[in-house]
Symmetry: C2
Subunit: 184 residues, 2 copies
């Protein structure tokens, strides 16, 4: 369970129990009986590609993983499509102009309730610069990627698959499905 303690409908204390007819523990209000479901969050991002083989990465200026490198991306917001969220995050973090291509990878991280959706994207010019959540943004060939400083398993998964596909003549359009399961 997370840090929820009070009902957002009536302000009373929450209980952590299995509601009638359910099969999982939920935050249930002891007063008004409102059930507070917790669902996974979507992280949308892209691999901005330049000259077919260089990828734009951002050095994080925020926690978690301050100082580590990742593709531009972030939490999808209400009111936007996955594509709009991806473009928004790419601008916010790297001020980069991209044209989205196909969906590149779908990566689940169940123990923290996250799903990553990454697109391939064509970087349209070199006028990118760090947004407030990035210390630095730059292009990397495969050999230049600082693998020890890649921020997340999802980032590593997407980058490895991208460069793997490059060696095999490029993607066939089928997204890569991945997951990080703690303890495996």
């Amino acid at each position: 369970m997370d840090g929820m303690k009070f009902c957002n409908q009536c302000g009373s204390q929450l209980e952590w129990r299995i509601p009638e007819g359910d099969n999982a523990h939920r935050h249930v209000c002891g007063e008004c009986q409102h059930i507070h479901y917790l669902n996974p969050k979507v992280i949308v991002g892209c691999l901005p590609i330049w000259e077919g083989h260089k990828v734009l990465l951002c050095k994080r200026a925020i926690e978690p993983r301050y100082g580590a490198w990742t593709v531009p991306g972030g939490f999808m917001e209400n009111g936007e499509t996955v594509e709009q969220g991806t473009i928004r995050e790419t601008v916010e973090e790297a001020n980069a102009t991209v044209e989205l291509g196909g969906l590149h990878s779908v990566y689940s991280v169940p123990h923290i309730g996250q799903v990553f959706l990454f697109f391939l994207a064509e970087l349209k010019n070199l006028d990118f610069y760090p947004g407030v959540e990035s210390l630095e943004v730059r292009l990397f060939t495969e050999d230049e990627i600082p693998w020890e400083e890649v921020a997340f398993n999802s980032t590593r998964f997407a980058l490895e698959r991208f460069f793997g596909d490059l060696k095999n003549g490029g993607t066939d359009g089928t997204p890569h499905m991945g997951q990080f399961v703690r303890g495996l």
Copy 2:
């Protein structure tokens, strides 16, 4: 904004305003300043296919769209991958045994903060029967689909693309990207 009124951390009243350094309205606690983000929810489901051209649909026993037909699916939960969630929902709604194939479609509905992820799936046998959230489950050929009683735009999108691909020799593995934007 949705119906959130009280802070889930301290129980005080929420304000609806733009936090410092942000650019969107959020539920912010007037007391402890905790920011309550609202993010899209993921609906996972599949198209269970029998004999290559029949799809299993469920007649909904719950609102919204009670009595209308849709593919098995539902809200992804914390603690599971997209694939695990899809299998779980397929069992819960149709008691159907499927083997998941590739990702079939990704469909955003921004005005209600939802993202649908549908997989192609092979139905393994005919021992399916309605779960508690279904009135009926059955197989449909394209001609049999009750198009006027299809529950959601996302369902219609996935079914139309599936049967469209069939006519063109099957899917090439690239997921169909769609969206329903209100007012368009």
